[in-house]
Symmetry: C2
Subunit: 307 residues, 2 copies
Amino acid sequence: MGGNREMKLQILGCHAATPRYLAYPSAQVLQAGKHMLLIDCGEGTQMQLRRFGVRFSRIEHIFISHLHGDHFFGLPGLISTYRLLGREKPLYIYGPKGIKEAITMLLKLGNSWTSYPLHFHELSGSVSEVVFEEGGLRVQTLPLDHRIYTNGFLFSLDEGLYKMRIEEVRKHGIDKAYYRKIKQGKDVPDSQGNLVPNELLTLPPPDPKTYAYCSDTAFMPALIPLIKGVDTLYHEATFQEKDADLAASTKHSTAKEAARMALEAGAGQLILGHFSTRYKDTSGFQEEALAVFPKVEVAHDGRIFEW
Amino acid sequence: MGGNREMKLQILGCHAATPRYLAYPSAQVLQAGKHMLLIDCGEGTQMQLRRFGVRFSRIEHIFISHLHGDHFFGLPGLISTYRLLGREKPLYIYGPKGIKEAITMLLKLGNSWTSYPLHFHELSGSVSEVVFEEGGLRVQTLPLDHRIYTNGFLFSLDEGLYKMRIEEVRKHGIDKAYYRKIKQGKDVPDSQGNLVPNELLTLPPPDPKTYAYCSDTAFMPALIPLIKGVDTLYHEATFQEKDADLAASTKHSTAKEAARMALEAGAGQLILGHFSTRYKDTSGFQEEALAVFPKVEVAHDGRIFEW
């Protein structure tokens, strides 16, 4: 595993709707190779970034699932703070149509437009689309089923570089200047100037690392083909089965439903989050999901997952 | 001092601009007689209300000084939370012109209009005006000098009831049914039916309890006549004198300037707040102000003041 192909996820907040002290609404930082991304930005996200010592000036791309307050009311404050800290490099925000107008209005009211370029990529499509692709990282939307227009996001990290079989390369007496081309899958000349087919010199690239963020949504089997074989699935579990009627009426999922999604998608692991604060602790969520799917983790503010 | 004439102030946040974990932006709760009021509402205010166990469903009036994020980015979240908690009683919001459109847009984006009546009283005047008067509490604006349109607020609690001199009342053989009228300053009949002048039966009402909230503002001597003799003055002190140039360029005050305001207004006590997070601790603020004015307190998140 190359150091540049690691995914590291830190939960900043994983609670639903009405936040409490030390129970923050949705936000998480994903380190994917060289990219640091923010996913959702509930109220208080900037305080959580500082609390957990995240070097958040490195964030250049923010992905917002939907425009319920517990997923984006922290965004105007974070954008303002970047200005106060003298940020110069651009910030890119991906989120539902309307987000640009809202943020623009809030900043104008405070007569505090940014010191740095702020770019919005507004989403309104109903099928999955690629919204970001750079340096081996691809981000695509995952249309979800919630009360308002909502997207999850699938992050795929793939350097696309072939693994060089160094003993074969040496056997053909290939100059080091060609090593980069070999990793890119190109045929290269040997010491005699004869082209050597790439498949003799390499092994195929490793599978991409993947992460799917699915919040907020009702149980949605249509999602399964899009997240098939994902390494890590974060799926909302606002309720437990005893409150399945509430999950249905508010278009949220139960822990059991989240586990069924993980099972049917063949996920490597399932992280449960977006817990309703009606539950005293999260042990019930894990228990319920483990009855369906074997690898279940429970988010808590600050927790780090790496794969 | 009647129990209904107490003022109790709890600081929820008193830090400037870029909030940190456990260093929240401006917000405070004022209990004035039977009224519970919220003054400013920076990001994270709803978490702070829960952290300090404030029964915040009782808040019916919110006063916003200006539309910089560190004074109102917590407002949309609090309004949403009230809906999720099933609030039915009205909420009144006083703040600069533009606040209604901003909040309305954010709630509409989330398709989450309130379950309760939400009334906006937008401010745009440049002279002090009374914006609320009910049950002995009067609130008037204090035009401040900041980078954008900003008001402080002066809260005056005055039941307006005269103190009854019970021995005089009894001497005239006045029926208990008239006691309320006596306190209201009316002349009432004695046991013979002859009107007794109120001044024989009462002492004048006690002075009103007062609180002035002045944040954010440059040093502003024009404010002094408006807050003359105030019991408690909360005045911003974003900077210390060594950074007086920064205070001037950003239209903020130093601790020394805040103390000069308290001295010239003849305030009962001065509370310093709105500290820049550039300072390691707040002791320097207090020291600087104490050199000018004798009764200086320093705000910190959660601190309670009563008078």
